[in-house]
């Protein structure tokens, strides 16, 4: 019986030791094989140049197809760029003269069309600015429509803040970058 008194604590300690290490001894190191290749999610990226199929809608994507056979004349209307207030697509009164000049150019040659390029300063997030630049271009198209220019002759494109004319980071740069540029389109000869 004396021996039993010693055995119990001994057994306890022994059991505890075995139990704490026992889990590991029961389950030896698991081995995880790692497959080759990047992240297991993206395999070989193809050439990145393969364009499959036709445009959806049988190529009749709104009115864009009507602008295919034109040459850009960036110089013709370069002096009539209009500018905007911060975070605004509202056309200011002082820009009316430039818009009128653009409308006159289009009216004088019915074969021409127009691209309005909307741009922003850098003080906005990228996708917000991409939408803001489009709103600026659309505002000018609407103003030209009021001056009698058929909106079907006008396409809009926003560059967001990707095409600043002044790379500076102050108000004098920003005020130049918040703008609509007007690009006259002449039909390609023979088209």
């Amino acid at each position: 019986m004396k021996m039993m008194k010693l055995v119990y604590p001994m057994a306890f300690v022994l059991a505890l030791t075995l139990a704490t290490t026992g889990c590991r001894n029961h389950k030896p190191y698991g081995v995880t094989p790692i497959p080759n290749g990047p992240g297991g999610q993206v395999g070989d990226i193809g050439s990145g140049g393969t364009m499959g199929g036709n445009l959806p809608g049988g190529g009749q994507q709104a009115s864009l197809s009507g602008f295919d056979n034109y040459n850009e004349d960036r110089a013709a209307l370069a002096n009539y760029t209009i500018h905007f207030a911060f975070d605004s697509a509202a056309i200011r009164e002082k820009e009316q003269a430039n818009l009128q000049a653009v409308a006159s150019a289009l009216s004088s040659d019915p074969s021409t069309k127009l691209t309005i390029e909307g741009n922003c300063d850098e003080r906005g997030t990228e996708e917000y600015n991409r939408a803001l630049g489009e709103r600026r271009a659309l505002a000018a198209r609407q103003a030209l429509a009021k001056m009698g220019i058929d909106p079907a002759r006008v396409r809009t494109i926003s560059y967001g803040k990707d095409k600043p004319v002044d790379a500076g980071h102050d108000e004098s740069a920003w005020s130049q970058n918040r703008r609509d540029d007007f690009v006259l389109l002449h039909p390609k000869t023979g088209a």
């Binding site: 055995v7 057994a11 022994l14 059991a15 075995l18 139990a19 704490t20 026992g22 889990c23 590991r24 389950k27 698991g30 081995v31 995880t32 094989p33 790692i34 080759n36 990047p38 992240g39 297991g40 999610q41 993206v42 395999g43 070989d44 990226i45 193809g46 050439s47 990145g48 140049g49 393969t50 364009m51 499959g52 199929g53 445009l55 959806p56 809608g57 709104a62 009115s63 864009l64 003080r123 906005g124 997030t125 990228e126 996708e127 917000y128 991409r130 939408a131 803001l132 489009e134 709103r135 271009a137 659309l138 396409r155 809009t156 494109i157 926003s158 560059y159 990707d162 095409k163 790379a167």
Partner: protein
Amino acid sequence: MKNCLRICLSLLFAIFAVALCRGQNDQNEIVINRPVSELGNTKPVPVSIEGFSSEVTDILKFDLYVQGFTFVAPDAAQYQISGTSAGDVVGRVVDRFAKRNILSRSYNGATLRRQAHAFADDVVQAITGKKGIAQTRIAFKVQGASGNGEIYVADFDGHNAQAVTHDGTIVSAPSWVPGRSALYYNSYKLGNPDIFYHNLNTGERHVVAHYSGSNISPAASPDGSRVAMIMSRSGSPNVWVANPDGSGLRKLTSTSEDSSPCWSPDGEWICFATKIRERRVLAKVPAGGGDVQVIHTTGAPNPTEPDWSPDGKWIAFTLQAGEFDICVMPADGSAPPTILVRGEDPSWSPNSRTLIYARRTGGHYVLSLLDVYTKQVKDIRQISGSDSEPAWAK
């Protein structure tokens, strides 16, 4: 007497072994649901790391730091991470408080980097009960001084980056199709901001939307069956949805200044930034069409670029107020947003804990990771130029 001793020993051993092993399994099943008050306010979990090469140690520290861990001496650590990386990574984790081994594993194949990421994920799983992010992927845009750029994919830490496009034009807004190796993005390749679908396995791509005006900001639905985007063909930028091939187009909103759509993880809602009653707000619209509802971002004016967490609980967004801040709020609007760090365009990790976002420095963007609970931040490896518009693969 001998028999008695043997029985006693066996019995005791069995009881302790079962009890302790069960305790270990319970540990693995803990799921932590954190309240809003812990956003940006949580103490990191102290761990020690010993025995690995400096390369593997650096990888483990990076992976764990952006998931809410901090590094201390072994005698101050709650969890002791140790092992070797001679040849292959072999690692274990000891819970120093509970005095037990909670992970013990070895890795082989691929590279030490991949093995280290796999071990980091097992460490996170063992300690938090949540799936880690160390083996996930991201997409982003890389832009040069000309304004032109390319879409890239990389590991979540920026390593193993690969260009997806080689078009030399303006690109933006990559969006992963969940569960697939495919992206939507915006490219000016055809002379107009159009939306492309790009299969990363085959390299094949097709145009989803090439309409007059803007076709931008694509967002794949959680089941991949639809894509939301901003299009201006009807006269103002609005939220539209279409099938992946561009068919089935439907205009969902007629608000006036929409941008940056994202999906709720159940596919029921599309959240976006817009202007309602002269105030910039976040709003949501049923993906099948219906009334637009404002999501109130009290205290955070000019919200934009929302991203709904995969677990459905949170919406992260950018606050534009002179500077740009990353904010997180409960998706149900039950609490106001918490402003976390300077930055923009957040995208959630698959486990809804870490955000990847872009921050401005020296006239360009770099990509960073943010653990929303501890507010621990780390830049990922950058590609030259400006790296922005990150999207986390889910």
